[in-house]
Amino acid sequence: MEDYYDIDSILAEDQLKAGSRIDIPFWLAREIVDHPEGTVPMDIETPEFYGPKVRNGLRAEATVVDLPKLCPNFFRFGTHFLQLIEDNKLAKVLEEAFKARLQRTMDHTQSGGNSNSTEYLNRLDETERECRTLNTSFS
């Protein structure tokens, strides 16, 4: 077995070059950013599902965007992501979209549901689903 402190072995494992792009889990990115001892120089890219295409879609007609297809926890991940990265525009888009969709969601909590409702309900992300099921006992 290799020596744990073998510097050559450590260097051999350290293959990341400056300027390379890798996917890492979000929690890891947060750990790196929050690390108490110095920082690793890196930029965090905005995921595609928060990109301009989706933003425009949400701005135009929030209720038709298929969120679970983009990210099942679209809004919840959004809150975490916005804690790490300051992006007021994204925050605004998410907030407005959430509000716009809420009204439609609320309609479905109160009326038993008509023929085209399942299609809409499939487009809800997890947070919205939770909101919806909260009320079903009264419908």
Binding site: F98, L102, M106, C131, N135
Partner: protein, 210 residues
């Protein structure tokens, strides 16, 4: 909260009906109770035939079932008054002034004392229209879910209860979506609308941030 699932949504409609039964209502009794009515909630003067007396709704209904009284329809539940409420409801942005327990009371009366209500069917239709108008108003409240609070005067207990779980959850999620920098605004200055002082304080906040 560690509550069973069916209790998490607040009160059930039946519980609300139970609460509404404690409201006082006017009846014309046809019996003489001869003595004061000692109830848990207090003492009521004796019932006398051909005299108006105020008793809790549950008692009125129970007497009505035994055909020992006639219930006087509350003022707000007459055709004229309901028509006016409906008109207000459709014209104004705020909820029209109906009693806190209007839905439950109306339901109980229509169910148990139908013969005491003049043109009960028309009353029923009016109430239904009112309910629909109010429901769509409550639905508009979602748009108003904003920074600090949402005001809905004259909304009934049944109506609050209907939207409460949804609104609280939605409100909570909406606040989480706000960037951390706005945290001051959440509990501090209300949205700068109507009130001049509010817009002043929020502009001060802005300048202090820069």
């Amino acid at each position: 909260m560690a509550l069973p699932r069916h209790l998490k949504n607040g009160l059930t409609p039946l519980e609300i009906e139970f609460l509404a039964e404690n409201e006082l209502i006017e009846i014309a009794a046809s019996i003489d109770s001869k003595q004061n009515l000692e109830l848990l909630g207090g003492t009521l003067p004796p019932l006398k035939p051909l005299q108006m007396s105020k008793v809790p709704l549950w008692m009125a209904i129970s007497l009505k079932k035994k055909q020992k009284c006639n219930i006087v329809v509350p003022k707000w539940m007459t055709i004229d008054s309901l028509q006016k409420s409906l008109k207000d409801e459709q014209e104004q942005e705020v909820f029209s002034a109906l009693p806190y327990h209007y839905m439950e009371t109306a339901q109980l009366l229509l169910e148990n004392a139908c013969d005491d209500i003049p043109s009960a069917d028309a009353v029923r239709t009016l109430l239904k229209d009112l309910r629909e108008a109010r429901q769509s108003k409550a639905r508009k409240g979602v748009e108003a879910l904003g920074l600090t609070y949402i005001q809905m005067d004259h909304i009934g207990l049944m109506e609050i209860n209907e939207i409460r779980p949804f609104f609280t959850k939605a409100f909570y999620e909406l606040q989480k979506l706000r960037p951390a920098g706005d945290a001051n605004d959440v509990y501090g200055a209300p949205e700068p609308y109507r009130d001049g002082s509010a817009s002043l304080s929020s502009s001060m906040l802005d300048s202090s941030r820069q």
